[in-house]
Amino acid sequence: MRNEMLLEFDALSVNESFARMAVASFITPLNPTLEELADVKTAVSEAVTNAIIHGYDNFWGCGKHGDMPPASQEIHPGRVRLTCRTEGDLLHICVEDKGKGIEDVERAMEPLFTTRPEENRSGMGFSFMEAFMDDLEVESRPGEGTLVRMHKRIGVGPWIDA
């Protein structure tokens, strides 16, 4: 069976948990194992966080400066678009932003490469997406935005985990 959903939300860090929860709920009919669910949630969280903090530079998160953004910081009004499609047991996820884009995608995908080490970013985002999904494609154009496509077959995990 084919099923598709589309979410569009402001590029704010509060929406990171909303996005992964929404995808987790959407794929429930595929009957994923707990491990598959955790994998998908992690991958979505990485992709959406990247769009928010790198695509739109909305680095402000509630923890750091209290519940309100500091007055000095402008919040980019951009949006993140999340498409999620299931076809049989195959899950497709697409995370798209119209932010600043990535100059060198290959470099960005190297483990531990980060443009923001001072902000406690680990540089593991793309590595985690690759590790937790079956397939990952990244398209980006500087100044125009970034599109991340991920696929994963659900229901192939070990039935009972030792």
Partner: protein, 101 residues
């Protein structure tokens, strides 16, 4: 602050249920304040309540590890669940921190 406590020369941090970029700024900022002001040697992260973590969690651990390891300090990870263990292993951080059940 209930989540943070200094016992002897260890900073104990009780990690929240969900760790993502949204939550990590606060943890990093508070942890660094304790490390500098109370001169703690080791940092212990307790993941007992944690049900979700992404690479932001790795950023928290890695940042604290860098700050204290040059003075001989260690980072301990308590009660990680299966997913957190996998994340630690994939990132290679599992070899730098001490995992305790």
């Amino acid at each position: 602050m209930d989540e943070f406590a200094v016992i002897d020369n260890c900073l104990m941090i009780r990690m929240p249920e969900e760790i993502d970029h949204h939550r990590c700024g606060y943890i990093c900022e508070m942890a660094d304040r304790y490390i500098v002001q109370q001169r703690v040697e080791h940092v212990v992260f307790d993941f007992e309540d944690t049900r979700f973590m992404d690479s932001s969690g790795i950023g928290i651990l890695m940042g604290r590890y860098k700050k204290i390891s040059c003075f001989g300090g260690k980072v301990f990870v308590l009660h990680p669940d299966r997913q957190i263990r996998r994340i630690l292993n994939i990132s290679g951080l599992g070899r730098l921190v001490e995992i305790v059940d």
